[in-house]
Subunit: 361 residues, 4 copies
């Protein structure tokens, strides 16, 4: 039951990397919301493989076919189903996966979980390709939020040891927020971006890969949305974000840094600005007690290095229970972080819309 | 609907800091599990306030009254309800909270969310006191896991800038895992522990507070449990852990550190050991594709500094919409991290048992 | 996980017939709703045992202790917990139940389900006594609905072969709707009521029992609430109503009767009345496509005869796997239908409020 | 969120009658289950329109395209998605529906619920056509149950006032159970079947329609599966069955009849037969306390007459708020009950498999 998510906006994602198609059914969308299909395609393009030298050469048009829930240019309010055909699959690349565990991949754990019946080609349902329907669903959520004045954007906060400039948690403007997403390489500081790209290219040459961090923010989200305990905004965001493959960490506001600080440093004083309540600093990341404070919502997501590297690795054959060696041949990103930015934005949009659609009076 | 959690093991937590009682209903527990009540009390004592100089002087016996679901020393399989009476409440301490927002607390966001009808005394339902029933439920889950050979333990990984020795993610033994929990101050390295205690004491003297990190691990959890995407072990753990007040970050295995590394460093080679599949290193933290690998499960949770500090802070009165100043007088922990260790362990136990109770064949 | 219910209003019911206490946690209630405690007690009294000659002589004060979620006379919006102490338990009455299956009871199926660990005293968690917290929760939902102009009422439609006058599905007024609930014996036609009471008394004398039907209606519920397919009003109502012990059938509007009719008889023509859309007849029972039409919502619930009868019955000992005979001695209602009326009303209130709390724009 | 259902087996149904396609995503299926595609097609054919004179002349091949979750002839355990293209749509038939409420249809309530944004062509998401993916999902569940020794079958219990012979609730054999489903007209007594067909034909001639009852049973379902209160077998079955359009009633075992009887008549004595526990009669319909007893599970579902009749009907235009008249022209079944039989069987299969997949130890 793992591919369902949501309280008010329910998504059900399906598909395997090398199957016929992947897709998503979204139930609970508000009715009558216009969806700009070109905008959706442009958003999905930011995640699409085969676009530049930083990503896998696998070519996919990734065209989302809307089968239902969309009529006369607007959401109907009933389930909206999207199907994305798989095109450029090379399943012979993956023949050995049925028995040789790629390190840091889910081949072995998936084999145990599904008793060998899983579709292991290209990672099957565990593949990063399954983020395409997630991004499609999130792209729709993002448009609906935009109708309500909420903007969501992200950038690469770091690749390896190279850091971009972080978002300013207090003064963040819509322009600044959305600017990285309009670039080929989504950073704030293009100089850092060039160094990141050089690092990724070096990893490719060295048959290696590298991880990174995505920072994402939402502005315009009204104060007072969310709930204490287990359906707080952090919990909802986390339950979705950890569904993106390779995510190993998540923090809100000052996050892990706040654990090393004093209360007098981290407490954000409330203040009045144009008769609205704000905080002078924003270490809390726009969420207090699981509920939005009206300040920008800020989170950072840590991605491990792509586990698919073509150098020889030690492993085991879990069918014969013998040691084995493996050199992964397929087409892989030496760094998935650039393409992960829209995945994080999409997840944020779905989680925030889900919380917003909860009726509280 | 925020105080419900779980797929197979459902918990429903209720109560407010200064109300009559707090408690939890746990549905879906396996039937016939003996529960050692003394062990449960001892586990809850590790969270209980008023025990030593590191925590709030509020005294609570925190005795869990089991009202149902427990018969002849064993779980019945039907809902197990626990009620904990509130004793030592000083509500006059909090009178101003109904209108003056304590910085970094949920007074203001809770006011918006519940339109002023919430019980704001002592933080009400947002209070850290609500972790008492969470720990009670988790303590029961922990015993049931122990019957199945799974041990869960945690320690303070850091307070402010002072670090404890981390758990070894590969060789971690039951003794090492459970040792910190038996100490008054749950660390591996007592020398570091003394420095942490000194730092906390300094914070108290300075009317300040400090944050920290809790590391938690599970060993003996079988490989093959969990699911891809949104009901993976990380997602389940995250959705519960972010329900503990003051949590601002979460990472699994090498976590944020892995984002700065290369694939060749982070990929954990599989190997055979006594005819069992293991990994030589454990940067993945025992979870691959949302499913357990059989290696120790490792996570770290970042806690912000306790927001309640008694020095004067700037804020606003959200009823009159005027600037205000606040000096929090109540009884507060200058550092909640020591008492947070069992909260993290309890959450881990609930999430792992929940995943285990999912039938997959 | 069976004792949890609800999408927006979540209830978690706990307890056993002869345990310490029974109760319910209600999460998701709107905040700031005044609750009239006397009205709640009066409603619960209609279900309470030991009140008259038609019901079990077991005496229970059934006082609901509200532990949380209720502050200064209003709901807080956070979980509202209610505990009802068990008083007058005679567990020796039930000693044999641990191994001798009472016909038409859940002793044997419960034994299989919980592997013998269940609390079998008085039926344990399967007992009709568990409807007390259901009625408490429903009584609160009913008051919240009343604040919004919705009235819910019920009556005994039949006991055995004796029928009361049904509600008029088109002209039903608030007075007519609520009138039976104010009587000791909740019928419309007191003459039929007397015959029913005589039948029940005859059953008691003959060590037998008898079934019946409860009819329930809601008026004032706005048109347009509910959803197609699986969260329609019928589905929600059904999923709750079949949780009342002894319910064996449920129908809406013309129900089973409509299956024997023609479309030209059953189709309800729409019409305009004071510029509002209504239907001339109401065979659809106020629900079309899972969504309220604005007409009175009507349902009927069939209750089997109380299975507890004191005459000798053939059965088996499921522990020794031998034939056995049984004469049930405890204190039992020869007909539970009179006390079931508020249970049905309570369930209807919860299901309708749950649907209403779903945000659709 | 209404088109999602299930605890362990989650289905998410999408589509509109005259949209591009309809379909279903099924999550939580056990892995490694072979699916016989021809058997699935044959089962779906029993529901398919355009097959004989009893049903709408709309022709649909209704071929289910499996997009995921099925690999090398077996379920993978990850989500199984099915898409069924819509072919023979005549949307001009329905142009007026956007404003003229067809009596006993959801045009008006759907308009209110979705604020006019719904796809109203052919009833849109409210259409009986949405039972095609339900039957596809249920057909798969049925095959998985058959692998475990459970057989599910149904027949027309009545059309109008004409009754078929009911299933014998005690002695029901696999042959008897499955026999009606192999006939063109699924009854036990073909003589009654002929009279039913004559009645349906008369309704067609008279521009009218007629309702009926479907009886469904499961045999071989093991004792001890299900749960008390809200996830009992009855609740699960009901929450799904009321999702089939036109269902107005549901009963289990002796159902409404039991409400008119005495306990001494309705209590089913337990007995031993070949060292297995059974009951001598089966008025309880195989379910006690929400849990299976090992006896055949029996239920009956009441269908109202098809609301689409071509004679002139009074109604309103809900956009102009004026009286209107309507003569429904499209292609409609004068009786949907024959095609509803596999819908009921499919729902029963899904609900029983869902309960079975709940791990209880």
């Amino acid at each position: 039951m793992s591919s369902n998510w949501g309280n008010q906006i329910k998504i059900s994602i399906f598909g395997e990397s090398h199957g016929t198609a992947i897709g998503v059914v979204i139930d609970g969308l508000p009715a009558g919301e216009p969806i700009d299909f070109d905008l959706l395609l442009a958003f999905m393009d930011r995640r699409r493989p085969g676009q530049n030298r930083f990503s896998t050469p696998r070519k996919e048009t990734d065209h989302p076919h809307i089968l239902s829930g969309f009529y006369q240019g607007r959401t109907t309010g009933t389930p909206l189903a999207i199907v994305i055909r798989n095109g450029d699959t090379h399943s012979t690349d993956y023949a050995q996966m049925a028995s040789i565990a790629r390190p840091a991949h889910a081949d072995y754990t998936g084999y145990l979980r599904y008793h060998g019946a899983q579709d292991s080609r290209g990672g099957g349902h565990f593949s990063g390709r399954l983020t395409a329907p997630l991004v499609a669903a999130g792209g729709i959520a993002m448009q609906i939020l935009a109708h309500r004045g909420v903007q969501i954007g992200g950038h690469i906060a770091s690749i390896g040891e190279i850091d971009d400039i972080p978002f300013d948690p207090v003064t963040l403007s819509t322009d600044t927020l959305l600017s990285p997403g309009k670039k080929d390489f989504p950073v704030q500081n293009d100089h850092a971006g060039e160094k990141m790209q050089q690092l990724i290219e070096n990893c490719r040459i060295n048959q290696d890969s590298v991880g990174g961090v995505v920072e994402c923010a939402a502005i315009g989200f009204p104060a007072g949305i969310g709930s204490p305990m287990f359906d707080g905004l952090e919990n909802r965001l986390a339950s979705l974000l950890f569904g993106i493959p390779a995510v190993k960490g998540l923090e809100f506001g000052a996050g892990f840094h706040s654990s090393r600080c004093l209360g007098s440093q981290m407490n954000d004083p409330f203040c009045l600005e144009n008769r609205k309540i704000r905080t002078k600093s924003n270490h809390h990341g726009g969420i207090l007690g699981g509920i939005s404070s009206g300040m920008p919502i800020l989170l950072r997501v840590a991605f491990k290095p792509t586990p698919s590297i073509s150098r020889v690795q030690d492993t085991v054959n879990f069918q014969t229970m013998e040691p084995a060696q493996l050199s992964i041949q397929g087409r892989h990103d030496p760094c998935i972080v650039p393409r992960a930015v829209p995945c994080v934005e999409a997840s944020a949009a779905l989680a925030l819309l889900d919380a917003w659609m909860e009726k509280t009076e």
